[in-house]
Amino acid sequence: MSGGAINDGALATFAEEVGADGPVACVGGRTQWSVGGAVEAGTREVRAPAGIAEYEPAEMVVRCGAGTTVADLDAALGEKSQCVALPAWDGATVGGVLAVGRSGIRRLGYGPVRDTLLEARYVSAEGRLVKAGGPVVKNVSGFDLCRLLVGSLGTLGLLAQVVLRCRPVPAVSRWFAGELDPFELRLRLHRPTSILWDGTTTWLLLEGHPDDVAAQAAFARAPEVDGPPPLPTGGRRSVRPSELRALTGRFVAEVGVGIVHTAEAQPPAALSPGAVELNRRIKHEFDPSGRLNPGRSVLA
């Protein structure tokens, strides 16, 4: 057990702060603040509590305030050679990363962000503290509200405290790069952590046992590099992994995953009419007055 900076009292205070009336937006590190549209002007801003509430390394789960930065969390977990599979963008908070729901460039190896959240305590539009999921690594007790909250941009509830699945920090973690066929690598290597490709150069992140990493690197025939390339930040597009083959222009693509980072903005992805209607009904059920993060929408 470590931390203790956040307790039930802090959650209650946060719930009170959110209250039951008036537009309110939850602010994290503002690293993805524009995703889904700008928050309406005049919206009251709140911040979720920060700090680790409970961490038992042998459980490989951690309970922390949604306002905790991913970097702080990883630093604490790192003492026990663990981490969370959340992208540690500069200043990003756990709650913010979950609310936006975008995975980092290690998604190929670590899985999507949505699989990391085990339990959430959030403040509902009525200002009530609500619990979703449970604090254990396997749980099918009731409906999966956690999955619904991840990527909801705080429009269904404001995350206050979360329980996250941890993962061991790999023994070694090395980037390689060269003019390689990324699609071939993806098929021939066993579970690489990341393959990035800009149409010419391929960057490859290999993690695990040193001998395995060395053997896979030898197979790939690529020299080691310091790290991944800078990602264009103008736009982000989601496609089927095999569609990446047809990409042209300037981009960095996450091979095997299907995310394309571009300099220019991307249009919002289309959704079937049936799914649009379900999105609308869910928003209406959870936040009928539209007070949570007004202006931001998962369909924008």
Binding site: P57, M60, G134, L148, R191, A269, L271, N279
Partner: protein
């Protein structure tokens, strides 16, 4: 004289795919659990359009509907309550598309889990969730219950392997949830639907992720003279930073029964055995296997047997998977529980579970997914013994309570269904249940999709959900 509902269904599907005779309906009164209900009519659609027709006709006649796959669930999720139209997906059993490059397969809901794995094995791929019923259960049923299995410790449960679902909603309309691209737009409706136990509609096409078969595998059998030693090894392995592909525990009684049944060389005098599997790349696997063996030795493992080849590995797994066959030699009936506790509380919870069984004079065995704390206390009995069902039920309730008190949850992979619906308030407060009821309401405002399942009556604030009539244990 068939009623108008039956006649309409027969006209929409085909007469032979709509069953309404009393004996036929009897066969759909239950799943693999112990709760029985009653179906009004049973139909077998072949297409999404026919599923829509079933739903619309049911609604036009004021009837709810209950989806059903192979009926291997243990929590009563497919038990017909309120005289519903039972919509069986077993005839929708085609694998529609396998995309080797994207490692995605589109399947109909009636495809059997193991059939899917067999059909892609030649590509070096498999479908990772492997519930013990994987030879019989359907992918649609797996989606409904968010099924697990031994290898979900490393690979994750069904939700991590389902990318997109075409769903017939409670109003008969079709929606595509999720997508085969990386970040489908909108709320994660796919995630919300997985594990909804038929209360949000019926999956008619499912896109699942296929997983590459690992290049190296090591399977170890460790035996212990104390349950505590085995449990401490479980937490020790996790704490050492190893996430095995599978980490299974069998207690003394079940180990003996299994060994007498399959002769796999399990130690008959062990207090507990652990079956541990690590997979991945060769060096990492070797190192992990060494750590597992070392941690075991520190906690008193008497011996560590490493499967020398695929045949020995298969034999060890056969021992684990034959657990139910073995118990049949002890008594004709069993009640299999399913709860999850924090891994560090395994010893304490296990001893409480044994104590509860002893107090109720019941034979209890434990064979379970120790790696993720997923307990499966197994009570064996003969249901013809007078009053035994009352004792089984009472013990079950105490076991669940003990797990919850240790910080656990009601179910790790079987689901809530009818079996545990009324225990939901043990782990969820009024506001928590209300939120879940809202999600359900968004999908099915009139409550006609598999009514009375998962959420206890009154979950929605001000909601008067009916208590199931005609359902009994």
């Amino acid at each position: 004289m068939p009623d108008a509902l039956v006649a309409d269904l027969r006209a929409a599907l085909a007469p032979e795919r709509v069953l309404a005779e009393p004996l036929e309906l009897t066969l759909y009164a239950r799943d693999a659990g112990i709760i029985e209900g009653h179906a009004h009519v049973v139909c077998f659609p072949l297409t999404t359009g026919e599923v829509q027709a079933c739903v619309r006709i049911a609604r036009a006649h004021g009837r709810p509907f209950t989806p059903r796959g192979s009926g291997t669930g243990l929590a009563g999720g497919a038990v017909p309550v309120e005289d519903p139209v039972v919509i069986v997906t077993t005839k929708m059993d085609r694998i529609l598309e396998v995309d080797e490059e994207d490692r995605v397969a589109w399947v109909e809901p009636g495809v059997l889990n193991l059939d899917l794995t067999h059909s892609v094995a030649h590509l070096g791929l498999h479908y990772a969730p492997d519930p013990s019923s994987q030879q019989s259960c359907t992918v649609g049923g797996n989606v409904a219950t968010n099924s697990g299995g031994p290898h979900c410790l490393l690979y994750g449960v069904t939700s991590a392997h389902v990318l997109a679902i075409e769903v017939v909603l409670a109003d008969g309309s079709v929606a595509l949830l999720g997508g085969v691209d990386a970040e489908p737009a909108g709320y994660d409706l796919r995630g919300a639907f997985v594990g909804s136990e038929g209360t949000m509609g019926i999956a008619t096409r499912i896109a699942v992720r296929l997983t590459p078969t690992p290049p190296a595998v090591r399977t170890l059998l460790l035996d212990f003279l104390s349950v505590e030693g085995a449990a401490a090894t479980v937490t020790g392995i996790i704490a050492a930073g190893i996430v095995p592909a599978a980490l299974e525990m069998m207690d003394a009684e079940i180990t003996r029964a299994v060994e007498d049944f399959v002769h796999a060389g399990f130690p008959r005098d062990a207090a507990a055995v652990l079956l541990v599997e690590v997979d991945g790349l060769p060096a990492g696997v070797e190192a992990a296997a060494q750590v597992v063996a070392d941690v075991g030795r520190v906690h008193g493992a008497r011996s560590t047997r490493v499967a020398a080849d695929e045949a020995e590995r298969a034999l060890l797994w056969k021992g684990r998977k034959s657990a139910f066959g073995a118990i049949a030699r002890i008594a004709p009936n069993y009640y299999l529980h399913d709860a999850v506790v924090p891994r560090t509380r395994l010893v304490e919870v296990l001893s409480r579970v044994y104590e509860i069984a002893a107090r109720h004079r019941l034979v209890m065995m434990n064979v379970f997914h120790a790696g993720d704390g997923n307990l499966h206390p197994l009570i064996v009995f003969d249901r013809r013994e007078n009053g035994v069902m009352e004792r089984v039920t009472a013990a079950g309730e105490e076991i669940i309570t003990a797990c919850v008190e240790a910080g656990g949850v009601l179910s790790g992979e079987h689901g809530i269904g009818l079996e545990k619906r009324d225990y939901m308030p043990l782990i969820f407060g009024e506001a928590d249940l209300d939120a879940q009821a809202r999600l359900r309401h968004a999908f099915d405002p009139d409550g006609v999709a598999n009514p009375t399942k998962v959420l206890p009556a009154g979950s929605r604030c001000g909601d008067l959900q009916r208590v199931p009539e005609g359902a009994w244990i």
